[in-house]
């Protein structure tokens, strides 16, 4: 399966690394690495236990002992924010991974074979795009029951459409190229063609889409968490933490400020990386992505 990765130049060809010299991209990447560090080493970095209840010390304002304060159950907010990094980043990687797999498969399939299957799949994509993603996800989570896994699943089941559209369009344009004709004439089959030539050509735009999608997925996931349909207590997740803290807005501003700040920083980092990738790979991509 991995033979199309054998050409070691593939990533170097498609991803010119000079875009890293842009200040915003470099900062974004550094922030992402920092967040990954937080997520991986959460148990060693966090000063307290994320779920241990300590009612004697509830709703303490930020101090040296508790830099982000404590919540209504006396849990350290900084600790929970650090642990939530892991929840949110892992879940958004899951969402993007599933979306890319489904989207590439459906997009290439529709574009390559065309015909009635293509028409049906395009109709499906149009329907999925015809509603705000969050509404469809809400209905699915409502049907399956709340929880972080169901929320992530719902977002991936509606997140693949963009990838399918882009990869279908690319497949359509590549299919007509002469080298494809030549490959066919030599006698290679469909699978080889798709794996060797079509998938390879989608790597660049799909990477860009995925970087932007990572930020977007965190926003949607946190939104579901905020509505009480994502992560359930006591699991630390930024959106769910905001939902729990919302009730105590009057007495504990720190509960509502810090998790949201983390969401914003993370999304900013992924967006700047995605924007940088897009500008570096192909300026024309801007138009494709805007749609």
């Amino acid at each position: 399966m991995a033979y199309w990765f054998k050409r070691k130049t593939i990533l170097a060809d498609k991803l010119p690394l000079h875009f890293l010299k842009q200040k915003s991209v470099a900062i974004g990447l550094m922030v992402i690495l920092g967040l990954a560090f937080l997520a991986i080493f959460a148990p060693y970095l966090a000063p307290y236990d994320p779920v241990e209840v300590d009612l004697y010390n509830n709703l303490l304002p930020p101090s040296w002992e508790h830099p982000f304060g404590t919540d209504n159950l006396g849990r350290d907010v900084l600790t929970r924010v650090i642990y939530a990094t892991k929840t949110d980043i892992l879940a958004s990687l899951f969402i993007v991974g599933i979306s890319v797999s489904i989207g590439l498969f459906i997009g290439i399939f529709a574009g390559y074979y065309g015909g009635i299957i293509d028409k049906v799949l395009v109709g499906m994509m149009d329907t999925f795009l015809a509603l705000p993603e969050i509404i469809l996800a809400l209905v699915l989570v409502g049907a399956l029951g709340p929880g972080i896994f169901n929320a992530a699943l719902a977002l991936s089941l509606f997140g693949w459409v963009k990838y399918a559209r882009v990869s279908r369009g690319l497949t359509l344009s590549i299919k007509e190229k002469e080298f494809i004709e030549a490959t066919k004439a030599v006698g290679f089959g469909d699978f080889y063609l798709i794996a060797r030539h079509i998938v390879q050509n989608t790597v660049a735009p799909i990477t860009t889409l995925a970087a932007l999608h990572l930020g977007h997925a965190i926003l949607s996931l946190a939104a579901l968490g905020f509505l009480g349909l994502g992560a359930q207590p006591p699991m630390p997740e930024w959106g769910a933490m905001l939902n729990e803290g919302r009730v105590f807005l009057r007495v504990g501003w720190w509960l509502s400020v810090f998790p949201g700040l983390m969401i914003m920083i993370t999304v900013l980092a992924f967006n700047s990386l995605g924007d940088g990738l897009r500008d570096a790979l192909d300026p024309r991509m801007k138009e494709v992505m805007m749609k």
Binding site: G123, M124, D126, T127, A130, L131, P132, E133, I134, I135, L136, L138, V139, L140, V141, G142, A143, L144, G215, L219, A222, A223, F226, L227, G228, L229, G239, L242, R246, L249, R250, W253, S256, V257, P259, G260, L261, I263, M264, V267, L268, N271, S272, M290
Partner: protein, 316 residues
């Protein structure tokens, strides 16, 4: 032209039907005896009531529950096309009237948010483009980047914290007066404002490069008049398209904003009915949102045609 309108309308209608079917099948995944739920909640109004076998069978008969799912959907569709979207499990009132009562609040909020974001974004985007690379430009583009990354539920909480609790200027939540509308409208419109501002800037920059602007400058027209007479109109075309689409996405955002501010609109209704597993209302809300979204898309497509006669729709 007529063919184009017909085609776009057909697509919009298809999308609404497909969405209603998709929602119907998804909602059928909700576990629990539907007939028992209906008897308890709609007929008796007591969730502890234990219906007899005869009652269950009679209810299944009335609501066609014994049939395969696709037939149940067709029954629902038939009723819906006749204006009957079913009965709420919770309140026992018709779904249609429940939704129509809530609709004005959502429309009011969405329109307020759109106006607010356009009023801020269009002039700022224009100024940014006219003074490209100035401090104003950097500042407004940087704030646009921040607002795009900012979750609207967090923005809502921060605004309440600042303007309601700290400064005590505006009410925390509720519906009614103009002061109630300000914070929800800002929360809902912020993202759209940021997107529109960026788009307006790049659109103006694009128009400024065109030949007729050079001509206008060459004949000695002053910059202000060029901006108003030539640039603004042409740069607005993509902005209006995106604004229409964004208005559709605002409908998704209303779910969150209405929850934060206890705003009695469709979004809040949808969330409440998901919590309560009130299937007919969920179904009705999603269909209504799909209808509004498709209508907006249609309007955008058509307005695009009238705004820019150069565009021909031959290949659609």
């Amino acid at each position: 032209m007529l063919g184009y309108i017909a085609k776009r309308t057909a697509i919009a209608v298809f999308v609404v039907f497909a969405t209603s079917a998709l929602t119907f099948f998804l909602l059928s995944l909700i576990p629990g005896e539907t007939a028992v739920t209906i008897i308890q909640r709609v007929f008796v109004g007591d969730v502890t009531y234990n219906p007899s076998q005869a009652e269950i069978e009679a209810t299944e008969q009335i609501f066609h529950l014994g049939n395969p799912l696709w037939m149940q959907y067709l029954y629902w569709l038939n009723n819906a096309l006749h204006g009957n979207f079913g009965t709420s499990y919770i309140s026992g009132r018709p779904v249609l009237s429940e939704i129509l009562v809530r609709l004005p609040a959502t429309v009011e909020l969405a329109i307020a948010a759109t106006i607010l974001s356009l009023v801020v974004a269009v002039p700022l985007g224009m100024i940014s483009a006219a003074r490209q690379n100035s401090k104003t430009d950097y500042l407004s583009m940087a704030s646009a980047t921040f607002f795009i990354a900012m979750p609207n539920f967090w923005l809502g909480l921060i605004l309440i914290l600042l303007f309601s609790l700290h400064l005590d200027l505006l009410p925390v939540a509720g519906y009614g007066g103009l002061d109630n509308l300000i914070l929800p409208a800002i929360t809902l419109g912020a993202g759209m404002m940021a997107v529109t501002m960026r788009l307006m800037r790049s659109s103006v920059l694009e128009v400024l490069r065109l030949d007729y602007i050079t001509t206008a400058r060459a004949k000695g027209m002053d910059e202000k008049r060029i901006m108003y007479r030539h640039v603004l109109k042409n740069a607005m075309i993509p902005v209006i398209t995106v604004a229409g689409l964004q208005l559709g996405y605002l409908l998704g955002g209303t779910v969150i904003v209405e929850t934060i501010f206890a705003w009695p609109g469709i979004g809040k209704l949808l969330i409440d009915s998901i919590d309560a597993r009130d299937i007919p209302i969920i179904q009705g809300c999603v269909v209504f949102i799909a209808i509004m979204f498709s209508l907006l898309n249609l309007l955008v497509d058509l307005s695009y045609y009238f705004l820019d006669p150069r565009i021909k729709y031959e290949k659609v």
